[in-house]
Symmetry: D2
């Protein structure tokens, strides 16, 4: 049996959303064991949450600083920490654990702002630390297969990347209700310079670069807060220019009624086009120019190792969001064991985003905000 990774969690206590997602994702392939936590900044809630999810009281900490040093000093201390706090805590928590030599698995965006991200990147580089950023949509098998199709030239030279991520849950002033998620995500002190941009725009941006194998060089944007009294954007329109001359648009919105979690990407080259939508993740549509569009299915006949390696069920037995997320955890487990052993990490385990993608994400947010403030001037992504 493969060795299990012992980990702790910061954030993710009662009322949180993404903490439970990480815990399930980490369990699916039985490669992780949750043994410690600083689940809430409220000590009482932290303790109660820890008990509820089966963390030993002795390893439920009142603060992340405590946890970092205590775990560092235990013989059976954690191998990794998972950070699932609001954005503003990502940097201090990551820094604290990295300084103790503990690997970090962090929810996106990497930090509150670009400067923090760059600082974090330097820390990681200087210490050869292990850091992974859970842009979970890169874990879907057909997303990786699509990336491979592009790499292999099936689409020819890429001309266009159209990506969008639409939701509707902030169409009204949800932050004035007792919805915790809405509260912190619309609060610049906790969320950063971007509202929808940071929350979902960074996912769309990451997916566009991941799948197209290209990088965005400039953005031209017009962002809005449509709901009265909201400070951060709830909608962003962004035009994109890529390094190879390709063009694109990125649209993210949390005020588009009828859209639950509609992340969708289309890539067009001179030989073929492809289309993938997160809400139907088991299908990929490939359109070679001049031929019928093909419906490629997860674990189907033409899908290759890059995707099949991370499938658990046969074609037609749908996998979803949690399995995609779990694929990151599986790769992280393998990579972390190699990292701890001082061995090189092979390419197929390097598909999980890290601090470079984190820096790029923050650069994206800040460039978009800057462009919009400058009445939509093109702004370079200097990361």
């Amino acid at each position: 049996m493969l060795q299990k990774i012992k980990y702790g969690m910061v954030g993710g206590g009662e009322g949180a959303f993404i903490g439970d997602i990480h815990r399930i994702a980490s369990r699916i392939d039985n490669r992780f064991e949750l043994v410690a936590g600083a689940l809430s900044s409220n000590p009482e809630r932290a303790a109660r949450s820890a008990e509820n999810i089966g963390i030993d009281a002795a390893r439920s900490y009142a603060s992340f600083e405590q946890m970092a040093s205590a775990e560092k000093n235990r013989e059976d201390g954690i191998d990794a920490v998972v950070i699932v706090t609001p954005n503003h805590m990502h940097f201090p928590v990551a820094k604290a654990f990295l300084e103790q030599g503990i690997a970090v698995i962090c929810d996106k965006p990497a930090t509150l702002d670009l400067e923090q991200a760059q600082t974090l990147a330097k820390i990681i580089r200087d210490n050869n630390s292990f850091f992974r950023l859970t842009h979970n949509y890169t874990g879907y098998p057909l997303v990786r297969y699509a990336r491979e199709l592009v790499q292999e030239g099936v689409l020819g030279s890429i001309r266009l990347v159209q990506v969008e991520y639409a939701q509707d849950w902030l169409s009204s002033k949800e932050e004035d209700t007792d919805n915790k998620q809405a509260k912190w995500r619309t609060d610049p002190s906790k969320s950063g310079a971007g509202g929808s941009l940071g929350d979902i725009g960074t996912h769309a941006f990451n997916l566009a670069q991941f799948m197209s194998n290209l990088s965005v060089q400039e953005v031209c944007a017009d962002i809005d807060a449509f709901v009265d009294g909201r400070v951060l954007d709830d909608n962003a329109h962004v035009m994109l220019r890529f390094n190879n001359g390709a063009k694109g648009t990125l649209w993210c919105s949390q005020v588009a009624p009828g859209n639950a979690n509609a992340l969708k990407i289309r890539i067009y080259g001179d030989k073929a086009g492809l289309e993938w939508a997160q809400e139907d993740p088991n299908e990929l549509w490939l359109s070679p120019l001049g031929e019928p569009t093909q419906k490629i299915i997860r674990a189907g006949h033409t899908v290759t190792e890059v995707a099949n390696r991370i499938c658990r069920t046969p074609a037609g037995h749908p996998e979803g969001y949690l399995e995609g997320f779990a694929n990151l955890y599986r790769d992280i487990a393998d990579a972390l064991l190699l990292h701890k052993a001082g061995k090189p990490i092979p390419a197929h385990l390097q598909l999980v985003p890290g601090i470079d993608e984190g820096v790029a994400g923050l650069a994206f947010v800040e460039s978009v905000v800057a462009s919009s403030k400058a009445n939509s001037q093109w702004v370079a992504l200097n990361d």
Copy 2:
């Protein structure tokens, strides 16, 4: 039986595409009779084409000028002319017939450039002429129903309009083959300042304004000719600002493999969102905030008079492109009879676009081109 409109056609001879579409559309409801033509600038082809489609040789003309004066002088002369030439001929032909007091039904865009369109608008205004522009997508029943839903406030205050029109037929250098359609549509002298912009972008623009009941005030654009050696754009990304503060994007492309004629629009307000796609024109998706999305079908239970009036088949018996086109012809027939009788034209017959929409379309093309040349500065649509 309702009186038939006698009409002639300019353009639409052998090898043309849209001429035959207009002829079929005009026949579907039996309200038009084609009796004259100047079907080609090549006299021999004009004569042969006329014979093939059953126009009396005596009324097959070698030039549109000849036709305009000859028909004007016949007692049984045409009531209307249909112009289906390449764009550069729209203005001179329309002018010639309008000057003879003959009504004009013109394919889009109205003219080659904005200046011509404005001149034409003045002629029409000054003479109280009858002019209709066949932005045929406004003829789909569910497009009109969607417009009504917006007008009635079902969507609340409109925040977003996302419109796109993607094709793939110009992904390669099609204009170097013997494809006539490709040749003139990529030639600025015949097509105007816009390539995909003029050909399909104007349809998307018109649909966005028609369905949202809003008008675009500014555009910020980045346009490209991706195919080597092509002069006019084959792709355009445009950000939109509307008169009420709504925002949007318009994407048109003729280099997106897998897209045949993928015109699609989504409109989001603070109460509901809606979505319609031309390739599935018998369905409209309405998403009231906080309720399940509804699949509204043409001629279905909730659809009202504005759409049902122009349906010929019951729900589930699909109507398509030709029927949508025919709806314009039907309304034009009714409106033209009233116009000739000097009677007022009721609102429900004024949904067919006219010269105002034509001027707006050219203003859109020229503003987008200007914005793109200015590295995507916002440019106002001063029409």
Copy 3:
């Protein structure tokens, strides 16, 4: 210009549904001219209907018998009659016109019962008469293309044919309202032994045989009238055995809420499967075993002459029910001209169903009813 067919119509006056459909379909390609009619058994309504649709009063007849003899005696008499009455009138009307040497275009089912159909078949054979039955779904381009794919062996040996035709408009006792269509279609004296079976089951049956190139040999059925007080079936479940050993099911229903006109067919062979649905007629799904499913589109790249010949618009510009219907009329025009000239009719003009398909349809209805009465014994289709 190709010669036009002069025709008259029996039935199809005010309040009728299918008469107007036939008239539009006949106009689309400009090959027919409607010049006579006995549009209603009510003389006043017949006259008024004739005037409304532009038939000369002199050729609006009070009875079909009058019309048959009068038209026979005119030098410019009609070439063909279109029969769009309720089913019980099909036989006498067809007989009357055939006896005058006038070609017959008849809506389905051919007659009220199998005996009539066989008698009619004999008359047609004995006199080498021209008779076409408007099973209009065979006119869809992709239906014909699918048939060709089967003929060419792309599916291999056919094992399964699953066909269904679901509607919901008779879910309540619609025949007790003033809905004329519901009244006669639920009345055995006008509709025959089948309710949903005759109205839509015959279409499904015809399509299954047409597309699979097979014939049904036995049926095993369980039919129901779910609505209280209804005499004829509003739902039928039928198991099928085909001549080559293939099996299948046919389900037709008019009490399935949410279904407007949901005719759908799936055919599976040992090499591939295919699927087509009438409500999305511009798409055909082909699944070669072990390869991705292909979305084949009307007028798309791989579609061949058999379908493209009958397309009027390019891919992505949807054609619908009326165009499919019009394809029958176009082929009938060509075939009738050849028939009148005593020339052979080529294979590609023989795809329109005739009396053989009519006899088969009635044999199907009567066998299904017999099987159901015998508690679902297998009954052979002895036509």
Copy 4:
């Protein structure tokens, strides 16, 4: 933290399919711990498999009999056994563990034949044993919601149930390759009287009864083995009669190219219809008669506690096959703890199928086979 269930597994060693599915499903909610196993009838493979998945060598057994008695005698012995062997072993294994007072979680079908199922039912009844059958499709949230809609009368009186389950993986003689799954599933000694019937038909049958709240009383069937040399059916057509007078069809097939795991159900009542497909499990389509069809989404606004209780992710974050399966495990954990404590099990934990559904499934298989042998006579389901 809730108490974990300690369990062992019989079957599910190397090369198996469903064993791993059960293990993942049991882990997702962290309510189970796998501590023992008799993973293969081959002792060497059993030991190796146990090691690979982290079962202590001391609790990896060479036979299920050994395991049953050894675990019974341990103080920390298993609470439950999961049976994931081929069908012919279900009965002896279940019996052995039940006799030791150990709860049984068994893959479907319950046993090899109806007689065994009835015997097992008696054992369970007589001993008040705990037995659950993993008809996993009942674990999908929207399946349970649909069942509730039916129960609450939203569909009115049910008239029709159309269920189908199509696959293509046995379109060729797969059992002649080294595909273990194909081998035993086509072997009557291991699979029972049904091929596709037992493998997938029982799922379809169970789903039809579960969702409609009805029971099938009679079947009329025609089954086939289309692949040369195959003994068991690979396709079955079945007409259904329900206890309330509703009718239906069940089609299952493993020779339908293009179908991966296409389980789909449609239920029609006199007030509304609904439709659900396993390959798109996050959507349920509800069609109230005379209103637009509604797209109901998992965890969406109108979905109630019966479904939301078993959702782990918000709307738009797709859950799939494994989460549906895990929902059974979660309910089983709660129910088993109550059972062990001698407390009553509330209704919402009784949705997981048990031996009654197992008996019904075998009765279905045997009745269908009997009907088909009798040339499709109606056969009652005497269970």
